[in-house]
Symmetry: D2
Subunit: 413 residues, 4 copies
C-alpha cells in the first residue's frame, strides 16, 4: 500500500483526486472568508452548504452508499491540509465529519448487524449531504453524561458535552455516554438528532484560535434515544490498547491540518520577502531556510505516519492490542514532532515578517493563534504523548486509552 | 552603582521603593481589569486616572520638578515588571510616559537652554499629573511627517504617525518630524497638544495582543507648533552610534515588562498544578523545571543589562559613539535572549496547563498573544538585533540607528 | 517509483535485499570492532576485505558488470544506516565506494564513448572486488591540483588532496583537477592508481570523530595519467545548477548514516533504562519520548528525500538546471533537519544515560563525536545550506555549486 | 553584599584582585599547554607546581592561615572562568582545592573544636602550598567505602572511590565513608595522606573530555586513619535540606568554569571570522549574534546565582533546611540554563567555524568534548535538577540530597 514518500501534495487514489478537484474550485472562497469568520467568530455555514451540495461533505462515505469513497488516510489528510492552509477552522470542523465517515465505514464493514444497520443509515445520509454528524466525546467538567433505560427498549440521555466542533450545521450527534448493566458501567455512543427534545446547542466557544470552527457545548436533558440508534462500546475501561486503532484512524488525518497551517505561514513569509525590494537580512535568510526545512520535515512525518498506520491496518495482526499500538506509535511520534515543528515554524514566520504580522487581522496572527490548538488535540496532548511514547520505548505496562487517562487525570477546579 | 545581582524583586533606591509601595496598592485593580480590557480592546482610563492622581504617572520626573524622582533604570524596570505581570498593556502604555520622563530629565540636565526650558515645562506637568505625553516616532507607511516654517518663527506639521501607545489619555505628543535647513534634511521633535488644530487621534489599533495599550495612529494636518515647543535633533542620518545611548535608556526598561509576562505565566502554571490533585506527569515536571530556569535567566539578563547600561551612563566615556555602543550591546544581548526565553516559557506554560489555556479569556491566552510584541519593539527587532550584535562582534562598520535602518529597509507594500 | 513511506527499515528492491542479507551476517563483527578502531584510530581493513570478498564492496555496481546491482538510493541509504549504527566510520568509508558506483553507472549509461569505456573498466573491477576507488575532491588549502599535458596524449598531475576517506584500502583515486585548454580553465577527474609513481598517501587524519574512516591526504608529484583514464568535466564554473543532480546522488545516501548514528544512540539509551531497575525520572521519560519522535522525523525526512530525488531523476525534465535544483532541494531540507535532529537526539541520549556516557570508550561518547561530522559534509555545510534553501525560497539568482562556492569562500588562514 | 550585576569580568574583593593578578601572569602558560595535555591525557603538574609556589593553590584559605583569603564566591568563580577559558581540565582540578578551602574555612569558623583543629591544620598546609587535598566523594560502583574501628581510637578504611580530580598531585584525600554506631549507619570524612599504607591512586580516567584533570580512582585497603583526622558528618540520610547549603558552596563556583568554556569558544569563532576575508554568510551572522546573546545570559545567570547564594549565606535564616533550599534553588536554575546555553553556544561555534573545528587538535574540538561534563556534575545532573526544581515549584516533599538520591537511583549494571 505504498505512497509517494515525502509527498503530501498529490492524491494517491482516484477518489482522492476527485475530492482534490472539487476542493480546487472551492478553496478560493474558503480562503477569502477566513479573516471575517475569525474576526466575528462566525461559522462558515455557506462553505458547508457548498460542501454538502458538491459531495465534499460526504467524501469519506463509501461510493456504494452515495459518498465519494475516499478511504485512503493520505488523501483525507491532504484535503485537510489544503483546507487548513486556507482556513484551519473550516478544516477542523470538516474533520469531524470525515472522521465519522471513516469510523462508521469500519462499523459498516466489520460491526455487529445492529451496528452495520445504523452505520449504513447514517452513511447514506452523509453521502447525500443530508446528514452532518458530530462526535460529542468530551464531557463538560461539571458532569458525566449518562444513559438510562426508557420504555420500549429506548433510552434517555442526560449530560453535557463540550468541544463539539461543526455544531452549528450538525444534523446529528454521536454522544459518548455511560450506562449501567448488571451493576457494571458500560459505554455507548447513541445518535441524537439535533431536533431531539431536550437537546440544546450552546454557543459557548471562545477559543483563542480556531474561532470559526463552530465548537460548541451540547446540553442533553432527558433526551430520548431509540434502541437502534445506539453503537455499543466496551465496558468502561476494558478496551485496552485495541482501542488505539480506532482512535488513530479518527484523528491522524488532522496531521494534514497542522501541516496546512505551516504551509500557509511559510507561503505568507516568502511572499512578503518576494514582494519587498532589497536584500533580505541575515536573520531572514537563516529563518527562511529553517522554515523550509521544518515544513519538509513536518510533511515527511505526516506522510510517513499516514502510510505506516494504513500499512498496519491492512495487515493481519493477531493481537488487537499490538495492532492498536503499532498504529498509534508512528502517529504519536509524528504528532509530537509536527506540533513542535509547526509552532516553531509559525513563530519564525511571524518574526521574519515583523510588526505587520502582529495585527490581529493579518493571516499570520490567525495562524499563530490557530496553531496552538494542535497541542491539545487527543490523542494525545503533549504530556500524555510523552507518557505514551516513553512507555512504549521502555515497554512499561500502562493504560494508553486517553479517555480513561483523562478521567484519572486530576483537572483544574 | 551596584545593584543586588540576579534580583529584580526589590527596589534599589528610596524613590523606587516609594513607587513600589504605590503600586502594591494599585496592582489588584489593574489585574482585575485586565481580562475585560483585553476582551473589549478598551484602554484602562481609570487606572491611568489613579496613576495621575497618586504620582505613579510622573514617577520618573525629578523630585525638584514635582515627580517621584525614580531615576534608577532597575527601579523603573521593576515597576514595569510588576504591572506587566498584572496587565502588559497597561505597562506598555505607562512605559511611554516613563521613557519620556527619563529622556527629558537628561535634556533638562544636559540640553541647550531652549531644550532645558521645554523639558522643564513638560516635566513639571508630568510631575503634577497634568501632562501625559506620548512619543510619536514611527511614520505611517503612507507618508513622511514633515515640518515647514510658519509665521513668527513657528512651524506647521503634517503627516501621520502610527503605533502611538497611551494615546487615549495623552495630553501631548512628541512627534518626530523632518524639516529642511539650507537644503539639508534635519530632524526635530515638536511637542503638540492633543487639542491642537489639525491633530486627530485615530482608534485604529487591532493588535493580536497588547489590546488595551491604547495604541493609535495620529494624523497631523497642518498643525501649528510654537518655536519653543521643539526639541532639535541632529541632521538626518548624522547621529551615528552616539544616538544609541538615548535609544537604550528609552527602551531598556521594557525588559521588565517582558519578564513580568513570563512571571505571570509561570505563576499561573504553578498554581494550576498546585491546585490539581495527584502526581504531575513527567512532561509537566520537566516543563516546570525548565520554566523556572528560564525565568531565572530572563530576570538575570534584565538585571545585568540594566546595571551595565547605568554603569556606562555614569562613567566618563570620551567617544560618544563608543558610549552608545557600550550601552546598547548588553541591552541587545539581553533583549534577544529575553524575547526568546519568555516566548519559550509562555509556550511551555500553555502546554503544561493544557486546553483550558486555549480559551481566549484565560490569562495565559492573553499572555500568549501579548508576549510576541516584544520581538517587534525597537531597538531592535530580531533581524536588526542580529545585524547589530554580529556587527559588533566582528567590528563591522555599519549604521546602527534603527530609525535610519528602518527607513532604508524595504517594507511590505 | 514509490517506496513504503516513513520506512527506512526494509529494502525495496531484490538487489537491496541481497545486500541487506549480506550485511546481516557481517554487522556483528563491524560493531564488535568499532570501539577498538575508534580508540586506535585504525582502519578496519579486515572488514573491508570481507566486504570485497562477499560482494558488499561492489554492491552499487550493475549486475551486468559483476556487482549486486543495488541502484535504489533507498537501499543504499538503508545499508549505510545499518552499518552506521554499528560503526559510522566504516559506513563513511564504504559510502565513498558506493557513491562512485552510482555515478560511474550513470557515466556508463549516459556518458561519451570514452567515459563509458573508462566507467565500465572501473565498474568491472569494483564488481569483482579488485578495485576500491576513492574520490579525491577537496584540495589541500596550500595548493590547487593541476594537470599538464605530457607526451603521447598523456598528462601529469601535481597537487594535494585532503579528506579522502577509505584511503588505506583504496586501489585507485579519482582526483579532481584543473587543466588549461586554449587559455581556459577546464575540469577533469583523472583516475590514478595507488602505485602510480609520484602518489603518496599520508596518514594525517586526526578527526575528533569518524576516527576509523581512513581519511587521508593524497600527495601527487608529477603523477603520469594515461589519456583514457580521464573523465572530462565542464569548463570551470560553467556547470551551473545542472551539476546539482550528480552532487545529490553522490551524497544523499549519507542521510542513512546520520540516521544510523541516531538509531544506535537511541537504542543505547533505551537499553540503559530497560536494564536499570526502578521508575525512570520525569526528565528521562520526557527525553525518551522526544528521542523517539526525533528519530521518527529523521527517518521520515531521509525516506522522503531519497524518494523525491529518485522520482525527479526518473522523470523527463527539460531544463537540466531545474532538474538539479529539484533533486537538491529535498535533499538539503532533509539534511539540515537531520543534522539538527540527530545532534539534539544524541545529546539527549548522553544526558539521559548520564556520566557513564562520558567515558571515551562508551559507544555514546563515540557517537557524540561522530555525529558532528554530518554538519560539515558537502553539499552543503549548514551555512551554505542556509544560503541554498533561502535562495531557492526567494528565487534568488546565485551560484549553488559547492565547489565554486568553496573556492570563493574566504577561508581561515 | 552587592556585586556589579551582569559582570563576571572583574574581581569584587581585594583578595580576588590579588588572585586575578597572579593568574594574569600564569594564564598564557596554561593555555599554551592545554592542547598537549588534552592529547596525551597528562596532568599539568608544572602548572600546579607554579600554583603552589605562587599562592594560587591556597587562594581560598583565610589570610590568617597563610592563604590569599579569597572568600567571595564571585571571585572564585571568576578565577575558574579565566582558567577554564584557557584549559577547563586545569580549572576542574583546581576547583577541587578551592572548594575544600571554602568548606574547611566554614568548619574552622563554625565547627566543633575537633573539626576546627583539623580544618586549621589542613588549611595551614593548603595556605603554604604544602597540601593539595582532594574530595573523594563518589564510591566506585562495585563497593561502599567503610570505616571500621581500629586500636587507640583510630579507624581502618576500605573501599574504592572514583572521579577524584587533581589526584596526580594530591597530598591528601578527604574520603567520604560510612561507619556504624550503635547499629546505625553514620557518615564521616576521614583525611588520608597519599602515602598512607593501603592507599593506591589508579590512573583509570579515560574521559571523552576534561582529559587533563587528573581524574582518578582511589583504592583503600585497610588504610589506617587517626581519630583526629576525621570530620564527622550526619547519620546517613538525616541531613535533609540543611545539607544543601554546603553542597551549593562546594559546587557553585564551577559555573565560572562553564562560562569560561563558552567564552573561549566564542572568542575562537569570532577570531576565525575576523581573520577571514569577505562578508560572513547569513547563517554565520545569525549564529554570532545568538552566541553573544547566550554568552551574556550564561554570564548573567552565573553572577546572579553567585550573588543570591552569598546573600542568603550572609543572612540569618532560622530554618537551616529553608536556608539550604534558598541557596540551592538559584544555583540550580542557573546551572540548568548555563549547561544548556553553553552546549548550544559551543555547537554554534563549531558549526560556524566549520570543518577545521572537527580536527581533534582544534581547541573547539576540545571544548566540544569538555563542555558536556557540566551536565553530569553534582549537584545536580539534569534529571535530578528537573526533580529538584519542579519539586520546589510545587512544594513537593522530597529528598534533595544528591548523595542519598544517587544511592537510591537504579544504576546501569
Amino acid at each position: 500500500m505504498p505512497v509517494p514518500a515525502g509527498d503530501l501534495h498529490t492524491p494517491i487514489s482516484p477518489q482522492g483526486q476527485a475530492l482534490h478537484d472539487l476542493l480546487t474550485e472551492q478553496l478560493p472562497a474558503i480562503e477569502a472568508g477566513a479573516a471575517g469568520h475569525d474576526r466575528d467568530q462566525s461559522f462558515p455555514a455557506d462553505v458547508f452548504a457548498r460542501f454538502a451540495e458538491s459531495g465534499v461533505l460526504g467524501a469519506t462515505v463509501p461510493a456504494e452508499l452515495g459518498g465519494l469513497g475516499v478511504e485512503r488516510l493520505h488523501d483525507v489528510a491532504l484535503a485537510l491540509l489544503r483546507i487548513g492552509a486556507a482556513d484551519a477552522s473550516t478544516a477542523l470542523a470538516l474533520h469531524v465529519q470525515y472522521s465519522r465517515g471513516l469510523t462508521l465505514t469500519y462499523e459498516w464493514r466489520h460491526g455487529t448487524p445492529a451496528a452495520k444497520a445504523l452505520a449504513e443509515r447514517v452513511l447514506r445520509g452523509m453521502g447525500s449531504g443530508a446528514i452532518a454528524v458530530c462526535g460529542a466525546v468530551k464531557d463538560h467538567h461539571t458532569t458525566v453524561t449518562r444513559m438510562t433505560p426508557g420504555e420500549d427498549g429506548g433510552w434517555h440521555l442526560t449530560g453535557r458535552k463540550t468541544l463539539v466542533s461543526m455544531a452549528p450545521v450538525a444534523t446529528h450527534f454521536f454522544v459518548y455516554a455511560q450506562y449501567e448493566q448488571d451493576g457494571r458501567p458500560m459505554l455507548a455512543a447513541p445518535l441524537v438528532s439535533r431536533d431531539a427534545p431536550g437537546l440544546t446547542v450552546l454557543d459557548t466557544w471562545e477559543g483563542m484560535g480556531m474561532r470559526a470552527s463552530g465548537t460548541s457545548d451540547i446540553v442533553l436533558d432527558d433526551c430520548p434515544v431509540a434502541a437502534d440508534d445506539i453503537l455499543l462500546r466496551n465496558p468502561a475501561g476494558t478496551a485496552g490498547d485495541a482501542a488505539l486503532a480506532g482512535q488513530t484512524v479518527s484523528s491522524i488525518t488532522l496531521l494534514g491540518l497542522y501541516v496546512g497551517l505551516a504551509q500557509a505561514a511559510r507561503d505568507l513569509a516568502v511572499a512578503t520577502f518576494t514582494r519587498r525590494r532589497g536584500t533580505p537580512s541575515a536573520a531572514t535568510r537563516t529563518m527562511l531556510a529553517e522554515i523550509d526545512a521544518r515544513l519538509y520535515a513536518a510533511r515527511s512525518c505526516a506522510v510517513a505516519a499516514l502510510a505506516n498506520t494504513e500499512q498496519v491496518a491492512s495487515e493481519i495482526v493477531d493481537d488487537p492490542a499490538e495492532r492498536g499500538r503499532r498504529m498509534m506509535t508512528p502517529f504519536q511520534s509524528a504528532k509530537l514532532m509536527i506540533n513542535r515543528l509547526t509552532l516553531e515554524l509559525v513563530n519564525d514566520c511571524v518574526t521574519a515578517v515583523g510588526g505587520a504580522a502582529y495585527s490581529d487581522s493579518h493571516p499570520l496572527a490567525r495562524i499563530y493563534r490557530d496553531v496552538r490548538a494542535g497541542w491539545f488535540m487527543q490523542p494525545y496532548t503533549y504530556s500524555d504523548g510523552v507518557d505514551y511514547l516513553s512507555g512504549q520505548a521502555l515497554r512499561l505496562p500502562q493504560d494508553n486509552d486517553y479517555m480513561t487517562i483523562r478521567a484519572a487525570r486530576p483537572s483544574a477546579a
